[in-house]
Structure formats: structure tokens, C-alpha cells
């Protein structure tokens, strides 16, 4: 694990990078990294996140700045700018059921090729996905998702990079922290080793590549 500034962290991300960004309606999203992505104008991003948040918040700021070319997500209903960019063919949106999205990311992080889920069977989510019958029940083969970078926000991080999330800000963060080649973390509080008890660590230190230092 290395400590970096916000600028250094975002400078590592090239245009066109595939990013997973933690958060649910902007709660648990690393806002400092999002702001810096906008400031450095990283564009053509392939974004994977639970939802499109709202304009001006969380990943909504990346949409505001038109930096996203492809969005893989479960919900865009509260961000009218995504709908507008879709109509104008400025963004491609791949809608994935929320439980399927998190399992695909988990699979990517855990070395699985994918999972078999009943969700989406008999709906347009089926598309041309493979189907498998087990015990008379049909499942869709949903394949693993990975990314170049995961941008993670945590409540507590210790000096080694152990992370503990708080309340509903955990959401996609721990799963994404396993599914990217490079994991960059912002923390509300950076604390000495031992402040987070071993049983309360939610993302173990070896998963974290970069921790954004306090300014």
C-alpha cells in the first residue's frame, strides 16, 4: 500500500479506463476522487456502479461533465442527464439487475467465471445469455466483471490499509475492492493500526494499492 495525493491517484487513471466506483445514490462514493477526475478531465470512462446517483452528487458529477462513454448499472431513474445523454447517443447504458451486478463483480474479484442466477429468467434481461437447468429450474449464466481501477470510499482506514465501512455506505465498496487491478481508497478517518479490531476489518489491507492521504 502507498499513500498518494488525490492528484497523483487520479493521474494514474488514463482516458478510456474501466472504473468501478463504490456508493449507492452517492452514499459511500469517493467524492474527492470524482471531483479530481472532473478536474483532470478524464474522459471516455467505462463506468461500473450501482446507480447514476443524481446530478451534482457522486458519479452524477461524471455524467454532468460528460466523461462517461459506457455505464454498467442497475438504476438511472433519478438522474435525468443520463436519460438525455442516452437519447443523444452520447452514452451507452447497460442495465443489470442489482443483485446480478453485485454478484458479477464479486465473481470477478473472487476468481469465479460467473454465477447462475434465476433473476432475469423470462425477461428481456435474458438476451442471448446461456441458460442452465439445475433440478428443473432455469438459471442465467451471468459472467464475472472486473475493472482497471476501483475507487473506494471508507469510513476508517488504518496505516496498513485495513478498511471498515459505516452504516449504508458499505454497499458495493468491499466487493469492488476485490475486482480491480488497482484499488484506490479515500477514507473519512485515517487511524493507527489496531483502531480497527481484526474482527471488524471489512477489506483486508493487502487488497488496497493506494490510500489517498489527508490534504
Amino acid at each position: 500500500m502507498r499513500n498518494v495525493s488525490t492528484e497523483e491517484a487520479v493521474a494514474m487513471i488514463p482516458n478510456g479506463a474501466k472504473l468501478m466506483v463504490g456508493g449507492f445514490m452517492g452514499v459511500g462514493t469517493p467524492e474527492r476522487l470524482i471531483d479530481e477526475l472532473v478536474r483532470q478531465h478524464k474522459s471516455e470512462l467505462l463506468l461500473v456502479c450501482n446507480d447514476a446517483a443524481v446530478p451534482g452528487k457522486g458519479v452524477g458529477k461524471l455524467i454532468d461533465a460528460a466523461l462517461v462513454s459506457t455505464l454498467t448499472t442497475s438504476h438511472i431513474g433519478l438522474n435525468p442527464k443520463v436519460q438525455a445523454q442516452m437519447m443523444a447517443n452520447k452514452i451507452a447504458v447497460d442495465l443489470v439487475p442489482q443483485g446480478t451486478l453485485v454478484e458479477r463483480i464479486r465473481a470477478g474479484g473472487c476468481g469465479l467465471g460467473g454465477v447462475l442466477t434465476p433473476t432475469g429468467v423470462g425477461t428481456i434481461v435474458e438476451g442471448d445469455k446461456r441458460q442452465i437447468a439445475i433440478g428443473g429450474k432455469t438459471f442465467l449464466v451471468e459472467t464475472a466483471l472486473r475493472s482497471d481501477f476501483a475507487l473506494i470510499h471508507t469510513f476508517l482506514a488504518d496505516y496498513l490499509g485495513n478498511l471498515a465501512y459505516a452504516l449504508t455506505a458499505r454497499n458495493f465498496n468491499p466487493v469492488m475492492a476485490m475486482a480491480a487491478d488497482t484499488v484506490i481508497v479515500t477514507a473519512e478517518h485515517i487511524v493507527p493500526v489496531g483502531v480497527i479490531a481484526p474482527d471488524h476489518v471489512m477489506t483486508p489491507a493487502p487488497l488496497v494499492d493506494y490510500l489517498v492521504a489527508n490534504g
Partner: protein, 216 residues
């Protein structure tokens, strides 16, 4: 009593002590306000919480504690938090006893469409597909009709949320169920006759000999 309150109160009667319950956005959210006295249920918020409580007092909200719509909530004693993989493990794995969801259409087979209107509105399915597929019991809480058109249709022409049929539909006019797989009028709202329900319902309802008035 307005229509939304009636629906919410009727749905609340379906919950049992100890149930793990997930409420969708809109009318379903109101159900939590009308729990019968002494009934203890666990409410799940699919962004990662069991034990959601009411909107916090002024100045007590925490930005990291919200419902799935991003609005501040509180947590009750005994609450637990978890990541989205666990949250949907609970949902898809049948650990949610009851989910209450809004709907655009429910059809004679009990199929629900509630996540998009092609060419018009594509909000995305969020957690709805997992909830309908995985919850033990699915209750749809919605207006009976929209702009004069029945939302209880013979066959959904909007994209389905799941191939799994819902268990109960509660509207401002009626309670509808699917005993033996037949769409059936179970109760009528106060002051509404069976004939009135039939008149505004596109689906071909089975009408039992006696149809009691809606409890609430």
C-alpha cells in the same frame, strides 16, 4: 382516508411478527407507518440495512445512513448493516418474507411489469427483479388504474420484472389474489361494488360468491 393510506393500511395487515420485509419506493414505503400495535417486523433497506427506522429528528441525520433512494433514515435497536452482496443474498435467497412493490401492470397470470416503459421511461430495474424473483411473498401496492386505464391487465405488454407470479395485489379499489393460479377478486374497497371493480379491470377476474369489504 386517501387512496394511498388505504392501500398502505391494507398491506400492513399482511405482515407477521418476525417477518423480514422489504418496501419499495412510493406507496410501499408508507406501509411502515401503519403497522398494527405490537407487531415487530424487520425492515430491510436493500442498500445494506436491516432495522430501518423513521426519518431522524431534525439535526440527527447521518449522511452515511440513508434508504435506497438516498433519503436520511434512522436505525432501530438491533439493526445490522452489510454490503450489497449480502443484501441481495438475503433477497434472492428467500430470506425476505415479504416484499411490497409498486407496479405499472399486473396481469391475469400474476406477472408484474414495473421497471420500464419502452421509448418513454427507462429508470432501470434496480433491485426489483431480484426482489420479485427471490422474496417469499410478493405484494404489489398500486393504484388500480392510471389515466383511466386499468393496470390490472389480461397480459402485460410492458417488459416483465420476473417470470415469477406475484402473490397479492392491493389497489385503491380492491384486493386481488391468485388462488389456484386464477386471478381472483378477494376484497373490494369501502364503498366500491364488485361491478365497479369489474368495470375498471381489464383482466378477466374470477368473482367468488361473496366478496368481503377490504379490511384496513
Amino acid at each position: 382516508m386517501d387512496a394511498q393510506t388505504l392501500i398502505a393500511r391494507r398491506v400492513a395487515l399482511e405482515l407477521r411478527s418476525g417477518n423480514l420485509v422489504n418496501l419499495g419506493i412510493g406507496i410501499p414505503t408508507l406501509v411502515a407507518n401503519y403497522l398494527p400495535p405490537g407487531l415487530n417486523v424487520f425492515f430491510q433497506s436493500e442498500n445494506g440495512l436491516i432495522g430501518t427506522g423513521p426519518i431522524p429528528e431534525q439535526g440527527m441525520a447521518h449522511p452515511l445512513l440513508t434508504d435506497a433512494g438516498g433519503r436520511p433514515i434512522s436505525a432501530l435497536p438491533g439493526a445490522s448493516t452489510f454490503d450489497s452482496a449480502m443484501s441481495f443474498g438475503l433477497i434472492r435467497g428467500g430470506h425476505v418474507d415479504v416484499t411490497v412493490l409498486g407496479g405499472l401492470q399486473v396481469d391475469a397470470e400474476g406477472h408484474l411489469a414495473n421497471w420500464m416503459i419502452p421509448g418513454k421511461m427507462v429508470p432501470g430495474m434496480g433491485g426489483a427483479m431480484d426482489l420479485v424473483t427471490g422474496a417469499k411473498r410478493v405484494i404489489v401496492a398500486m393504484q388500480h388504474a392510471a389515466k383511466g386505464k386499468s393496470k390490472i391487465v389480461q397480459k402485460c405488454n410492458l417488459p416483465l420484472t420476473s417470470s415469477r407470479s406475484v402473490d397479492l395485489v392491493v389497489t385503491d379499489l380492491a384486493v386481488i389474489g391468485f388462488p389456484d393460479g386464477r386471478i381472483t377478486l378477494l376484497e373490494t374497497a369501502p364503498g366500491i361494488s364488485v361491478a365497479e371493480v369489474v368495470a375498471v379491470t381489464e383482466a378477466d377476474l374470477l368473482i367468488p360468491d361473496t366478496v368481503p369489504q377490504m379490511r384496513f
